[in-house]
Amino acid sequence: MHDTHLIHESDPGMAYRERQAWLALAALAAGYGPLFGALALGRPVFGRPIVTFLILLTVASVVRVVVLALGAWWLRRSRPGDAAQPIDERDRHIAQRAMMVGYICLMVWMILVGMVMPFHSEGLELVSAALFGLVTAEALRYTAVIAGYKRR
């Protein structure tokens, strides 16, 4: 019997794609968290509600892109070896499952927004609900990616 204690490597750490999923989730929260918070308060900050919505949406999108870009730069810089590696079969498995989770969430939400909500809501409320569905589906997809790496 060979003693294999010498090759017990330290915890391999988070996979690069798992780090990317955490980053994407953080960018979503940083960008769209304040937007939905402001929408939930329901008070138009910049005159008409649609103007407030469009300004907040623009700010949220810019914040998301900036957080993603800075995070991606930092990830590549801190882990150049991992960043250079192409995705492998496990990454693809996890991404496919997560995509399915996000897709199902998106479909359910869009059915609600497109087929149920129009009976009692209109205008900006519908748009906000649709946007919330998109963001929730994305967030669920990234959460499923993270859960996939924890499980597998």
């Binding site: 060979h2 294999t4 090759i7 391999p12 991992d82 079969e89 496990r90």
Partner: protein, 71 residues
Amino acid sequence: MSLPPITNEIRTLRFLAGEMTQAQLGELAQVTRQTIAAIERGHYSPSLETAFRIARAFGKPLEEVFHWEEC
């Protein structure tokens, strides 16, 4: 009836291959270091192609690297 889990000898074979690291094996098998770690721990079952690549990296037949737990 559930089948017994598949185990592997990757850790031992890495040791016998001059303390080959997970990263080195990953390079030979064309997967990431984290995937090798997950396979080693039994958390992930590789595709047949990857299993063959791992076996070839050690110069062993597949059944000497992966086998049913009862064997």
